[in-house]
Symmetry: C2
């Protein structure tokens, strides 16, 4: 039995179980690291009767994922008050005395979709969330891409026509990067309404689809994914999918000659198979991986 934590900037989701059909779930607001972590630990202990084999954490970031680093498992330079340089994985490991798997929230979601969702047995794909922020997790040759730190896909620069859209952008680091132009808060600031308050025929959506398609076109050219899964609150406005596909097709203009992109875009840019539970279920996969890694270390 495994424990899972999806740590977001506004809420924590916690789960205990073995697979998507056998999960006890709870959620509560993110407050201080000490109080929030204590709530998570209490839930995991109670629901498992102390019988956990491992815990997985998919966390908001930036986080330190370098296993050789003295601050591995920390949340590092987040703007979120109180959480800077917090030893998140260490706190869970110390309290529960089990192997702890740790990764970004979007990498966890990608793992969840790979194991039980829309990307099962897909060796190379991209999971994106478009919500309070924009983030991406990539699977390449069957493994999560980490590299130097972890991707920060929402912060790519895309064309921005100020004549058509004079909004300066929401990102405090980059202004009009993709997240700055197309995240939920950017939509709210530009239009005076949150995404869920804007009807399907509002001009907001053509602009939103265009910005997201520009991001997707760049990732198609860079990562050559076999599949793109789009999750997050903004994507719950389901009409966006078809608008994005149409725009992406125009942007690529037939250059990348794969049937998936030329004919079958409706099976190439798709919603998550696990709905809004990709992240917490991916954290369960992280727990399982940490457990298996520990077993390999102790057995000959």
């Amino acid at each position: 039995m495994f424990g899972a934590i999806e740590a977001g900037g506004t809420k924590f989701v916690c789960a205990v179980g073995t697979n998507p059909d056998d999960l006890k779930l709870t959620q509560f607001p993110t407050t201080s690291p000490e109080a929030t972590t204590a709530s998570a630990i209490a839930f995991l202990q109670k629901q498992s009767d102390g019988e956990l084999d491992g815990v997985g954490i998919g966390s908001f970031g930036p986080v330190d994922l370098c296993t050789a680093s003295p601050t591995f498992g920390y949340i590092t330079s987040t703007p979120k008050s109180g959480w800077q340089n917090y030893d998140f994985a260490g706190a869970i490991r110390t309290a529960l005395n089990v192997p702890v798997g740790f990764d970004t929230d979007v990498n966890a979601a990608a793992l969840g979709e790979a194991r039980w969702g829309a990307a099962q047995s897909v060796s190379d794909f991209l999971y994106l969330t478009i919500g309070t922020g924009i983030g991406g997790g990539a699977v390449v040759n069957g493994r999560i891409l980490h590299g130097l730190l972890h991707p920060e896909m929402g912060h790519i620069r895309i064309p921005h026509d100020f004549n058509h859209d004079p909004y300066l952008g929401y990102c405090s680091f980059h202004g009009d990067c993709l997240e700055g132009l197309a995240s939920g808060p950017a939509m709210q600031q530009r239009w005076g309404e949150p995404p869920e308050g804007l009807p399907a025929n509002h001009p907001a959506w053509a602009l939103e689809a265009h910005y997201l398609a520009l991001g997707l076109a760049n990732w198609v050219c860079t990562l050559s994914p076999r599949l793109i899964v789009l999750g997050g609150g903004v994507m719950r406005q389901y009409w966006l999918f078809e608008m994005i596909r149409k725009d992406l097709s125009q942007l690529l203009n037939g250059y990348v000659r794969a049937k998936e992109l030329m004919e079958n875009l409706d099976q190439y840019v798709i919603p998550p198979g696990l709905g809004n539970r990709s992240g917490i279920i991916g954290a369960l996969v992280l727990a399982e991986q940490a457990y298996q890694k520990q077993r390999e270390l102790v057995s000959p």
Copy 2:
């Protein structure tokens, strides 16, 4: 002893040998596929006395790299006259009767840099060429990224301020994608001079550095590489490196908090360790890989 072919749109480089210090090299212009391939085959046979253990090809593209595909090893939809749907790997395999490794020119160059160049023992890095076109090869978790087809990194979209640079772009598919704005032919068309004819104090270089830095910033956010190697004819104007580093640092604005990006950019964005021979030496690595794969298949 291995054979290697670096197949470019304007010239072929061929080599026979075992490593960068033991290589017989030649080059000749690219004409028809039949004539050019025949010249390559003749050189490889003569220099090896027919004793080759394998041949590697790093080719211009697009190419079909899907080993399960009936057109694996073909050059596919290239605009280059006569080369469409050409069974390149098949022609070499039939003539020489040896295992043939086949990949894009930039993936080969990345392999060369990984094995004997500037990226030795670097698990995650990016090799880019900026010349007649712009292309990239990425190594992720120690393996070349292929995905659905192969990356087409030069074709990402970046911000383009038409007031500052009214040039419409050179790419016949996308107009002002990165390749359309910053390849050698784009520079030549914009300024009326090829890159090598533009002095270091010409305004062309600040614009060129800015476009390339925008590309690099997007790839840092997407691939999180540990190292970026910049090759190709345009980069022989060595002053570009420092201009790109400065611009990249401003674009990232301290968001990606790694020492490599915050302090050591002069060791992060670097020229190839193998000069202009990354591609042909990488093709030698492809030959070696094809030979080893064949051995694994025939031995128990």
